[in-house]
Symmetry: D2
Subunit: 304 residues, 4 copies
């Protein structure tokens, strides 16, 4: 199927519409981005690529990386991982402490900040150099050695990351963080800081459209059953307190980040990355959501 026209059409139309929302302001370094950037890239399982707009411009991957770190931990530990983090939607914002207290320090799901911090703690257990493992997976999937950490972004987040410190220290008090809190958060902020563009992001997520395998089938990152489960968690928990709404409107597993990126996956068919920095009040890209809603309506490509 040729998505060129559909993508171009929706992209153009949205540029004519009024844009809404705010660029993430709480990370000083992110606040400087041009708020009107708008890129799209779709890669299908035959490795054909469709694009529009600022698809080659780099932005900060932020929470989208949580899917990759989760996949690395899940591949190694399989079901054992769920003793440290749940798979249920939380019904609360991404950095909520009350829920965590109620659940004795076990985060509800791996895409809340608390859950992703636990996953980083797990990666420190599993790998001697977890940063290297993460960046290698991204570079291999995207066939692009240029993907890199952004020290400026990571440093900027660390300087203001008091809420994440609170989450991590709370979990440590409950026995669910094994390593030094500052070291775990360093890893967390580093992986969130990675810079990607829409093409790289779409290429990276193709393993979830291909049941765990890379585009060239040379690497298997997850078993078929594991890939299904990561997709399920993306669907139920991928959009903070707006996960139900995303499933409802878009109908694809996906994950957003406060850098304005969103990636969505149609299992067996394609991976699709959009980027637009203005965020709605739930912290998800306003124009990104609009694009995906219209794209799935027009193409009837949805898992439901």
């Amino acid at each position: 199927m040729d998505y060129s026209q559909t993508i171009a059409h929706i992209h153009q139309q949205l540029l004519l519409e009024k844009n809404h929302g705010q660029v993430a302001g709480y990370i000083p370094e992110l606040a400087t981005v041009d708020s009107e950037k708008f890129g799209v890239c779709l890669i299908n399982t035959d490795n054909v690529c469709f694009w529009a707009g600022d698809w080659q411009e780099q932005f900060s991957i932020q929470s989208i990386i949580k899917v990759v770190t989760l996949s690395l931990a899940y591949q190694k530990l399989d079901a054992q991982l769920w003793q440290r983090v749940g798979v249920e939607p939380s019904g609360t914002p991404f950095n909520n402490l009350s829920r965590l207290e109620h659940d004795y320090g076990i985060p509800r799901n791996p895409f809340s900040n608390a859950g992703a911090i636990v996953v980083c703690d797990v990666l420190m257990e599993l790998f001697s150099d977890p940063r290297e493992v993460v960046i290698t997976m991204l570079r291999t999937l995207a066939s692009d050695e240029a993907i890199h950490f952004s020290q400026a972004i990571a440093a900027s987040e660390k300087s203001e990351g008091y809420r994440n410190m609170a989450l991590a220290y709370f979990m440590k008090s409950m026995g669910n963080i094994m390593h030094d809190v500052e070291d775990v958060l360093d890893l967390y902020f580093d992986v969130c800081s990675i810079a990607v563009n829409c093409e790289q992001l779409a290429r990276i997520f193709i393993y979830l459209a291909k049941h765990g395998r890379s585009a060239d089938d040379r690497h298997s990152y997850l078993s078929r059953a594991q890939a299904k489960r990561i997709n399920a968690i993306m669907l139920t928990c991928g959009f903070y307190d707006e996960a139900g709404d995303f499933a409802f409107r878009v109908g694809l597993p996906g994950k957003s980040g406060v850098g304005g990126g969103i990636v969505a996956v149609m299992p067996g068919e394609f991976s699709l990355a959009v980027w637009s920095p203005r965020l709605n009040e739930k912290g998800n890209s306003y124009r990104g959501l609009r694009f995906l809603e219209q794209f799935t309506s027009m193409t009837e490509k949805t898992i439901f």
Copy 2:
């Protein structure tokens, strides 16, 4: 695809396994059911039927009816309905009051008890005889005029329904119930009391596998976009506090009831009903969940 052998095989194997959980005890009339009953029925979009075990025995539909009442309200009101009830997973048990208080009387989703009670209030607004409208939809979809309300079950629930009274009065105090609380709960308990068997249930839910249309294409209950959205809500909210786990293990939209029934839908392919009365601690059929998990693993039929 012929599912006969797969269904027979899993059904037999599970009969050999130890059964777990408790029959719903809080509704006196439900507690008398034979706990070892176990039936399965799958209907595909070509109207071919596959079955096993006690697929022709009747049980109480209970919360599964919430999908039907929601569909009726949604068909009439479309997006306007979401002013009265949300579409987000709640992260709490099915009869939680705290969440409702936090959200000013707007239930998080239509499959919580509070949400389903609001939907009943809406049906009383929309239809002069909502019981008739509900039962007619079921009879038409199942091509079976014998489907009926169970006065004994409904009366039994009303006699112990204090928590639902509390939920309904709380929402009335917040202005989200328009009619008399006792009348709304009468309707709620009546529709939950309806008796069905696995075959009827599978036939009823075929409209969600067929993008809103009946098996014979003569009736349209929902638009394609609406059907997709009901399926999305089933996936994210269909299993109380275990919705994430169901999406994760089974990977299909579905809905459970405390009568021990579960229905799951593979859009474009089939509707599948299972029944086994023993419930796990989250209130979902133990053996029903086991069946669905094994069925989707063996057939690789999943939306993810």
Copy 3:
């Protein structure tokens, strides 16, 4: 000690100050009261009376009655009563459901609505005609047979009492209400509806300034140890979510009602009633609180 001048002085000064707050609007019948009424009456343990302003005008006793109903239940059951209701401040508004859910249907204290409803349920257990017992206690203490229930107020509250219905049904679902919910709430609304004036109210509460005994020492309503404990509960829980602030500013045990009345007790010395219908945002009489704060500052009469 002669309090005439102090009372007159503060009363006059406050009349010159701008009045703030709103008359309770949620009970239709209460909303019609003249918002600028302002009365004071102090009775000391020698039965000497000091007064100012509208001290002889009647108003609705509302939540202040909860102290009397609690005393009646406590006199009969002593410590056994605390199996049904706690003695801890709740840290939440007077009609909160979340806290109650967290505590499995045991209200945190007897002055929350939930707690007072449980006390009414207890009175129905203890007395064949609890209304008669309550009104007789009030008439005897005030030496005034004219004190009466207000059917208009009670009916007005019942017509809008959905939140209290929710609280009561929730507690019934948890096994902490024994009688029919509507009967218990009828009693609750009836005792809250009683009309009193400042003099009557001050006379009634003298038993808590006299360690459980009536002004003429002919009746003993509570043991010395019990009276101390009721006073302690008034101090820690008497002002909804503002109890700490009242202890802090005024420094006397007391109880407020949405009718605009407040009663305060200096053990061993006096009972003091004030009335002014405008309520602050926490539901306590604005001018009443101002009066008590200034009175205890000027006289240095405080338990601390």
Copy 4:
């Protein structure tokens, strides 16, 4: 009044009774204390001293110091202080995060851990050497230069203080901690580590029995109105989640610490310190509470 016999009698009787509860185990250094120690000391406003048992043995002051740090901050800032911390009972355990989140980082009261941490942050603002100011106040009131910080206790607490780190970082994320979190917690743990005996503790708290003034009237630590308010906060918030119960049973303002100490104040009459290391499940000294309940019952010395 001569309390010698009463104190000796209750002390002896309690030694014959079975002791209950556990020594605070979460601070390694505290866990080594002899669990059967039991001391009492009462000082009246004429500076007469009554004692029993291990009244001269040192223990860790822990949370009791929060009254002293609060007094120092309140003396300087007066009502301005309440912009940073409330005066309402919390209805939750001493280290609860949910409540804090609900209140946007403003602790409910100054005796929760969060509240006391904010007070330490305030002291760092007000004084160039807050440790010196605190220890000088204690030494002056107790007329004893030997009172000292315990580095071993403070270091032991810091090594396990993850929950307090979580509280402090959360408040910093909400803008209610101005200084470096580690520095604030260093001060917090240092002042909690101070070693005292019952006599010193009773002498220290005499300023709250004397409306703000020292035993020899040479120092004024608080105005009369301020002293009343500190006593009121002790009464409503001094015993974590058991404040209502303490007011109810004992009927005096007081404060407990996990070192097993409790101090209580009868305004205008005396200050009374007890020490016994075994704690009940709410974290308050089991035998200390028993002593105070019996003492106030026998002497009828209570504010109510």
